[in-house]
């Protein structure tokens, strides 16, 4: 299966402070059917930034063969990526990994989608698929501050959407868990993606339930060959059993791996 291809950038725009939305077009998009998967991007043609960068698939349009990534400018790689403009080409490896199990949610059930910061993007494509299946979705999106908030409107169109900010400049003050508690949000399933401290809390809170968490880890190959991205399994936390975030994940069932 051909997994690497040159895509064409159709648009790039700033959607919040240092947050960009990048849309690309290519045949490979037809394989991007599982939300929560990611792509491994070569951010430039130059050797100074050597390794690819993993970015989640944020939204997919199978008709126009385009997909969106939403990313925050962090370091050199994302800085250079943010300089690309429509019409330029980009080398995309993917879709990679195992995404969220959409099929676990049945029609009429309620799914809580909890995202933190740059963990928010994959939840959008997920939410769209869930809604299509007749699942009720509730979104809780956590950000640092008002200036960091993105995609609130888009999510609101799919279901109730609660935004939290750590500094209280927008929405509920505090963490996503504060919103879940204050609004007593109940659900049949939980899907989440975000920073490890957040996932760790959810991993505890939703233990034994139908909850799925998407992890981040620094990656080398992105395809399972280099062993850069492994984590311990919960049943053998000090031992040699492991999962690779890039191929076994990034999405794991709650309680499966040590976060």
């Amino acid at each position: 299966m051909q997994k690497q291809a040159i895509f064409k950038i159709t648009s790039q725009q700033l959607v919040a402070d240092r947050i960009y939305e990048l849309t690309c077009e290519g045949e490979q998009v037809l394989q991007m059917t599982n939300p929560g998967q990611f792509v491994h991007i070569k951010v430039g043609n130059f050797d100074d930034i050597l390794l690819r960068r993993p970015l989640s698939i944020g939204d997919v349009n199978l008709n126009s063969k385009t997909f969106k990534m939403i990313y925050r400018v962090e370091g050199q790689g994302t800085t250079r990526l943010s300089k690309k403009v429509a019409g330029e080409e980009i080398d995309v490896l993917g879709p990679l990994g195992v995404g969220f199990p959409v099929e676990e949610a049945r029609q009429g059930e309620t799914a809580l989608l909890v995202g933190g910061g740059i963990g928010v993007p994959p939840l959008y494509y997920l939410s769209k698929q869930l809604v299509e299946r007749g699942v009720n979705v509730i979104h809780v999106l956590g950000f640092q501050s008002k200036k960091d908030v993105f995609y609130e409107e888009e999510f609101s169109k799919l279901g109730p959407t609660y935004v939290t900010t750590v500094d209280g400049t927008y929405g509920t003050k505090g963490f996503v868990t504060n919103a879940i508690e204050s609004y007593k949000l109940e659900c049949d399933l939980l899907y989440s993606c975000g920073p490890s401290p957040m996932l760790r809390v959810l991993n505890e809170k939703y233990k034994g339930q139908r909850a799925y968490l998407s992890l981040e880890e620094r990656m080398g190959c992105g395809i399972g060959a280099c062993f850069a991205c492994v984590c311990h399994t919960s049943d053998d936390p000090e031992g040699t059993s492991y999962r690779k975030v890039c191929t076994d994940g990034p999405v794991f069932k709650v309680g499966e791996v040590v976060i």
Binding site: M1, K3, Q4, K42, D47, D48, I49, L50, L51, R52, G75, Q76, G77, L93, E217, R218, M219, G220, C221, G222, I223, G224, A225, C226, F227, A228, C229, V230, C231, H232, G239, T240, Y242, T247
Partner: protein
């Protein structure tokens, strides 16, 4: 023999290009991208006697034109490799070079002995140079006498040719090479990674959980070329060269330096098709340079021209 083929102890290579150890797992993942039969050989990930989880994450970090890794030799252990990985790889028509690692001499001997007896293994690569294992590893790779002792011990138990993989983190690479040659090594493979570090400005801690890690990629190519150039002139065993190779020009440069074949590590992560792509590009580049047979290149920077060895 074709113009790309190379004969080395234990290895009949269709072409001089192979993936480097640790950068290709046990082949499974890349087999989804292309037919592994196209490769000259495959150097599989280091095997230790027991399964190892390796180091805590983060295990990789970016550097300018390179990367740092501190995987810590994660592998399924001797039995996992012998029973699962090798038989799976064995279906391909490509020589397998098994990378042997350990913390103590006895570990190396056990692993070498058993791996060499696998019908799927064509040769061993003795990894005396992994910078990411705390005990043992370093000393084996930096003290000629210790490296020689280990080499001799492994040669005694191995039924297959043994290539010793040298560390570049030494004052005198020539002394290391001569010592392991004298101890019976059938070939050398060089270079392993340089020891490096990156520090995160915000956390103020090294990015790698392990602190330091191995530097690989184009950044280190000039060091590899220099060491291969030095060593190839003083030993008579062949060298499998590696370190930063990304293009056919790099392959040729490394062979001119003195390598008889070339392994590609980090570049696999950048372009999963890099190995077959370079194999495909090689003949046209040879034509351009007026070279008939790839063997003419070996040591071309210091040998008299035209003497194919």
């Amino acid at each position: 023999m074709s113009r790309l083929s190379i004969e080395l102890p234990g290895l009949s290579l269709k072409n001089p290009i192979m993936p480097a150890s640790g950068c290709f797992g046990f082949g499974k993942e890349y087999a989804e991208f292309y037919d592994l039969d196209r490769l000259g050989a495959i150097m599989i990930k280091a095997t230790t006697s027991e399964a190892r989880f390796g180091n805590p994450t983060p295990r990789v970090a970016e550097t300018t034109a390179g990367m740092l890794n501190a995987i810590g030799l994660q592998n399924p252990g001797l039995s996992g490799v012998l029973e699962q990985e090798l038989p799976r790889l064995g279906q391909f028509d490509v020589p397998i070079i098994a990378n042997v690692a350990g913390a103590k001499m006895e570990d190396y001997i056990e692993v070498a002995k058993k791996l060499s007896r696998s019908p799927y293994v064509a040769a061993l690569e003795l990894n005396i140079s992994c910078p990411n294992v705390k005990q043992g590893g370093i000393a084996f790779g930096t003290i000629p006498e210790v490296a020689a002792e280990l080499t001799a011990a492994v040669k005694q138990v191995s039924t297959k040719p043994v290539y010793v993989k040298l560390s570049p983190n030494v004052s005198d690479i020539v002394a290391m090479a001569k010592a392991v040659e004298a101890a019976g090594a059938d070939g050398l493979s060089m270079i392993n990674t340089l020891l490096g570090m990156r520090i995160d400005l915000k956390t103020r801690k090294p990015i790698l959980a392990n602190g330091a890690g191995g530097l690989s990629g184009p950044a280190i190519k000039p060091v590899a070329i220099r060491m291969i150039h030095q060593v190839s002139q003083v030993v008579s065993i062949p060298i499998i060269g590696m370190g930063g190779v990304q293009t056919v020009e790099d392959v040729i440069e490394m062979m001119l330096a003195g390598a008889s074949a070339v392994a590609i590590g980090t570049a696999n992560f950048v372009d999963p098709y890099i190995c077959p792509r370079l194999i495909e590009e090689l003949p046209a580049k040879l034509d351009e340079l007026g070279i008939n047979d790839v063997r003419e290149l070996i040591g071309g920077s210091w040998r008299e021209p035209c003497s194919v060895r």
